[in-house]
């Protein structure tokens, strides 16, 4: 049973949870790259966040607190993945990566920069990005579906990602000047 269900605090808590769903999802994705379990881990994290809502001290850094909880959920999923024979990073690496992740970064800025950079892609390049990320399908499958070779699709996608990465980096750098 909750120790305190102050409606105002509860509203604030729900707002924080809702506002930071994207950040939590990104954090999970960064720790489990390419994993199909991201939504499951997020769901489990939300359940724990809700159960622990009374332990949160309003006014402190919600995201840092939520990230700690998320890390446990990720590590738990990571152990399951390892047990199932899935290809994963070592625990040591995962912990190192989580420890050194800056929780204060503004992810919205990255999204805004990406918006601008996506606008610079050619229609063909944009189509490749959309196809890869909308369907979540493998490159082999996408190549089959789109009547092209996996090799050419892979090369194109790698180049597009590289140029988007550089574009986002430059855009963020320009904004900070």
């Amino acid at each position: 049973m909750a120790e305190k269900d102050n409606p105002e605090e509860l509203q604030a808590y729900v707002t924080l949870m809702t506002r930071h769903q994207g950040r939590l999802r990104v954090f999970i994705r960064s720790l489990l790259p390419g994993s199909p379990d991201v939504e499951d881990v997020l769901q489990n994290t939300n359940v724990v966040l809700w159960q622990k809502r009374t332990e949160f001290e309003h006014g402190t850094n919600f995201l840092a607190w939520a990230f700690r909880i998320t890390r446990y959920q990720v590590m738990s999923q990571h152990s399951r993945n390892k047990r199932d024979g899935k290809l994963v990073f070592s625990d040591k690496f995962l912990e190192h990566y989580a420890e050194t992740t800056d929780t204060d970064r503004s992810y919205d800025q990255i999204l805004n920069a990406l918006d601008q950079c996506l606008g610079k892609l050619s229609p063909t390049q944009r189509k490749i990005v959309d196809a890869r990320y909308e369907t979540g399908q493998s490159i082999e499958q996408l190549a089959t579906d789109n009547d092209c070779t996996a090799g050419s699709l892979r090369t194109s996608l790698h180049r597009i990602r590289e140029s988007l990465k550089n574009c986002v980096k430059n855009t963020l750098s320009d904004q900070q000047k």
């Binding site: 049973m1 909750a2 269900d5 409606p7 509860l10 509203q11 729900v14 809702t18 769903q21 994207g22 999802r25 990104v26 994705r29 960064s30 790259p33 390419g34 199909p36 939300n46 809700w50 199932d84 024979g85 899935k86 290809l87 994963v88 990073f89 070592s90 040591k92 690496f93 190192h96 050194t100 992740t101 992810y107 990255i110 999204l111 990406l114 996506l118 990005v129 890869r132 990320y133 909308e134 493998s138 490159i139 082999e140 499958q141 089959t144 579906d145 009547d147 070779t149 996996a150 090799g151 050419s152 892979r154 090369t155 996608l157 790698h158 990602r161 590289e162 990465k165 986002v168 980096k169």
Partner: protein
């Protein structure tokens, strides 16, 4: 690792294509190299941002716009209720709120599923307007799994791991209709009890358990393996039947237990495997067309030596042009042969030495093989139409074949038999102008018993030869030689065949290159078809031989058909570019205009005839494209046809796909076309047999004389083979081949093919 290597591996990780070794190396690099870690973070930020961006765009596309006042009203309602309800109700309300924020306005899914990377599936829903998005299933959703594995999460914590080929429809929260497939079901909660799998012949009702079902397509019987708890086998009418308890595996015919299964086959998968390995993905659109002029160009970095030096490539100055002929490859011919028994070898009384008896071995009409008139028929061996000898411990006999002119033979197939103990060995020798080369050590085949056994011997690279000699050594038993075939495999001619390439880069000649390997470019010393050759019949493949071992780098190979000005492009990484030591093999793409067809040679397949390539898109000459089932996004082609390329065969085609891996499960699928009734070019449906073979042993096959679909359709057919229990005389590591056979060979008519795929699942996760 270079920076480029790190970035490449990161991208492979993001795309789920990284191997275990590569991941370990990447992890080490990331831990040791802060710059690499920075790069990793940047890529991950981008990757995650792209996923978010696309997710958001998807939601906007699929969801009606929610007015802000509705959201505010909901939040107000939420706050008021929170003040009144207890903690449990709050939790529920929060869940509802989060559901509201996160879920589009769709029919709520009953189940969701994940697939192993490399799986091939189609998900359709009964209703279009409110169909769930993503990998979610509602009542009436149909999942067709052609390759790979799907893990279903059903209501009440019911979980299923399904292996292809499979097809299922989710009927309601407790009923899954399994048309065919192999699946493990786990029911762990009381609420899940009563979960029912409806097969074509019975209803399998869970009574709290874990159980596996193997229900191949078209079979009247299914395997039921109860691993924990118990299940009930009901009739299709719902009438309750027998209860099967844990640790029992049975073969069911309807509701009747036909027999117990004492030796269960390969275990059921309990989890999604890390990936599905694809052995072949063939769209039947690679090869060369008859009577065409070709121009090949290649970026220099496509080929590198093992030290990383680029080749010179092929450009406008260093040309590689050739013209294909009008007919199939001419087999290597044997002009004469001689038989010699040495000391200790005793001729079989009924033996007929080649050339010495009218009923002895004779050359076939194509002069490509010697045969005893009864090839492959064990009874034929005993009929006296063979050449044979009885050896002693020191004895041997030879058969020497004169090929007339110099050839380079890639394989020799020997069909023979021996009584009793195995033959000791076969040794192959070649001879040109008095110089003889031999296998370093005799080849010892695994032959025994009174059976006709065919074996193919790989001929080492000895250069061209005029004579081939087979030396047989026997150990006091009778050996009968029934048939010898020389592989009519076109191979590159060595020497100054690339002309301009070597003239332009004289410093890279073979001798000098070998002395300074680490600093020099790899040099192409031969190509097939040869430069400026006409009448080339290369079996659909191009080959380049280099002066040293090579690897693929980066860049593109252009194959231009200068007769019709179509151009194909292969980027490194494409499976149609392959390296074997010093040889680059190119399977050139066929580019056909819509509605056209042409004859040619399929690349990579063993067949002695040209095939027909066709592009059915367009004018309805073969298929009435307007009425094909799936108009988008494949523009008039069905979902099974992944490219406009298609091939028509009226003879068997065969291809080696590797060796048999124990305890694996192979899945084969192919698209078979049924031409339109009103097609301008009609074809009688020939029937088909698709089979996996090892040598002459058929391991598994799918055969039918019935069209797999209505006229004007292309349909995926498939089957799987469990390599746990192998036939006698077939062992893990033995060669594995695929054969596609038109059942009524030579027509009239053709078998239209597309989209062959073969995948294999190991025991990981079982």
């Amino acid at each position: 690792m270079t920076e480029a290597d790190v970035q490449h591996q990161i991208q492979k990780l993001l795309d789920g294509e990284i191997s275990a070794d590569e991941l370990a190396a990447l992890e080490t690099e990331l831990m040791d190299n802060p710059e690499a870690m920075d790069s990793y973070r940047e890529f991950l930020d981008l990757h995650c941002a792209l996923e978010e961006e696309i997710d958001n765009a998807q939601i906007l596309k699929t969801q009606s716009v929610v007015p802000i006042d509705r959201i505010l009203a909901l939040q107000r309602k939420f706050i008021i209720k929170v003040s009144l309800l207890g903690a449990a109700a709050v939790l529920l309300l929060a869940a509802v709120t989060m559901w509201y924020f996160q879920t589009p306005d769709h029919q709520p899914p009953l189940a969701k599923f994940q697939t192993a990377p490399g799986s091939d599936f189609t998900l359709t829903h009964s209703g279009e307007s409110d169909a769930p998005t993503g990998k979610n299933m509602a009542a009436g959703s149909r999942l067709v799994l052609r390759h790979g594995v799907a893990e279903l999460k059903l209501p009440h914590d019911v979980r299923a791991v399904v292996e292809a080929p499979a097809e299922m429809v989710l009927r309601d929260e407790k009923t899954l209709e399994l048309a065919h497939g192999r699946a493990l079901f786990q029911v762990t909660t009381e609420e899940g009890q009563g979960f029912t799998v409806v097969t074509p012949h019975q209803r399998i009702v869970d009574l709290g358990t874990a159980f596996g079902i193997d229900s191949p397509k078209g079979w009247d019987e299914i395997e039921l393996h109860v691993l924990e708890g118990r299940v009930r086998v009901d009739g299709k009418d719902g009438k309750h039947g027998e209860i099967i308890k844990a640790n029992r595996a049975v073969m069911l015919a309807g509701t009747r237990v036909k027999r117990e299964i004492d030796n269960p086959s390969i275990g059921f998968l309990r989890h999604l495997p890390p990936k599905v390995d694809t052995l072949i993905k063939e769209n039947f659109a690679t090869g060369l067309l008859v009577g065409q002029n070709y121009v090949i160009q290649m970026d220099p970095p496509v080929i590198r030596d093992l030290a990383g030096n680029n080749s010179r490539g092929i450009d406008d100055d260093t040309t590689w042009n050739f013209t294909t002929g009008q007919t199939a490859a001419v087999p290597i011919t044997v002009t004469s042969y001689a038989y010699t028994g040495t000391a200790g070898a005793t001729d079989q009384p009924s033996n007929h030495r080649p050339g010495n008896h009218p009923q002895g071995l004779f050359l076939d009409p194509g002069n490509s093989k010697l045969t005893d008139k009864n090839p492959g028929d064990p009874k034929g061996w005993a009929s006296g139409t063979y050449v044979g000898f009885k050896g002693t411990d020191q004895s041997s006999t030879q058969v020497t074949f004169d090929l007339g002119t110099a050839h380079e033979v890639q394989t020799i197939t020997v069909n023979s038999c021996v009584f009793g103990s195995p033959i000791k060995s076969i040794k192959i020798s070649t001879s040109t102008d008095g110089v003889t080369y031999s296998t370093p050590t005799p080849i010892t085949p695994k032959w025994s018993g009174l059976n006709a056994i065919s074996t193919t011997l790989e001929v080492p690279d000895w250069g061209t030869a005029r004579y081939y000699r087979l030396d047989f050594a026997s150990s006091g038993e009778w050996l009968f030689l029934g048939e010898v075939t020389f592989g009519a495999v076109p191979t590159p001619s060595h020497g100054d065949t690339l002309g301009d390439l070597e003239k332009i880069h004289p410093a890279d000649s073979l001798g000098q290159t070998l002395s300074k390997r680490d600093e020099s470019h790899p040099v192409a010393i031969a190509v097939y078809p040869t430069e400026n050759s006409t009448g080339a019949t290369p079996g659909g493949q191009l080959k380049m031989i280099f002066n040293e071992p090579i690897k693929l780098g980066s860049g593109r190979v252009f194959i231009q058909n200068s007769t019709d000005w179509s151009e194909g492009e292969l980027v490194v990484g494409d499976h149609r570019l392959a390296i074997d030591s010093r040889t680059l093999t190119i399977n050139p793409p066929i580019e056909l205009k819509d509605g056209t067809r042409s004859r040619g040679w399929l690349a990579g397949w063993q067949t002695d005839a040209t095939v027909t390539f066709l592009n059915p898109r367009g004018d309805g000459r073969w298929y009435d494209n307007d009425d094909l089932q799936d108009k988008t996004p494949t523009q008039g082609l069905t979902g099974s046809m992944r490219s406009p390329g298609m091939t028509s065969i009226n003879k068997t085609i065969r291809r080696e796909i590797g060796t048999i891996t124990a305890e694996s499960r192979y899945t084969v699928s192919a698209a078979i076309g049924v031409r339109a009734d009103d097609a301008q070019i009609k074809s009688t449906f020939l029937g088909y047999t698709i089979r996996l073979v090892s040598g002459d042993t058929v391991l598994a096959q799918l055969t039918s004389d019935t069209p797999p679909g209505p006229a004007n359709s292309v349909n995926t057919v498939g089957f799987s083979w469990d390599a746990t229990t192998l036939p006698k005389d077939v062992n893990p590591g033995d060669p594995l081949s695929i054969e596609i056979i038109p059942n009524r060979a030579n027509g009239p008519g053709y078998l239209d093919l597309n989209a062959l795929r073969i995948t294999v699942l190991g025991k990981t996760g079982r």
